[in-house]
Symmetry: C2
Subunit: 133 residues, 2 copies
Amino acid sequence: MVDAIENALAAIKFGSDGLVAAVAQQHDTGEILMLAWMNRDAVRATLSEGRACYWSRSRGRLWRKGETSGQVQLLRELRLDCDADAVLLMVDQQGVACHTGRRSCFFRSWRGDRWTIIADPQISPETLYPDRH
Amino acid sequence: MVDAIENALAAIKFGSDGLVAAVAQQHDTGEILMLAWMNRDAVRATLSEGRACYWSRSRGRLWRKGETSGQVQLLRELRLDCDADAVLLMVDQQGVACHTGRRSCFFRSWRGDRWTIIADPQISPETLYPDRH
């Protein structure tokens, strides 16, 4: 398992900052949930644990998606693009992906001349992150 | 139109390199086509022309998707994520998105212990880019 994961890592071209862009997509509906970043340890953790783990640029540490909120992303498939500098995580999102309580982080759409909010929160941030409120 | 586009740009948080990550998704099937990068001029061109324009990091210039191959991406909708540092382009891909001739750039899947190619080219790169061959 460890050797296999090292093989997976060997094909990925991490940037000069050690990161690769990662898109998370709900595996069955095709909905784009979020875009985040992964370093080598995040890819290792994701493949070995079967759930999405990212690198939080703002916190400067590994971020097991859902570690606080419980809204984990179960990994169904990991894909790599032609240039090997972006990955696609097909996941089964438990609950919501966005810290605002919305299913997807991409909830603003450019409509005519303004950004329009196109999705409502399904759960309140206070419920997702009780320790922060 | 120009003022509206400047309003759109004002909400986007471009990185220190002037770029924002952009995911292109086929608007009706949900298929993820590619991940690329946009600077302010690329977003301006995309909104004003109604087709995807990116910033090519390798070539250091604007890249109107399909300008050489004819495989343009007609813009259906532009979305912005919660942190405003990633955009989602919902497009109608004409032909294929990948320079290898495959519909999507994410044609490698991690299966067990190896990266497996899961899609065949629909057109040869020689046909897409006759001047390069």
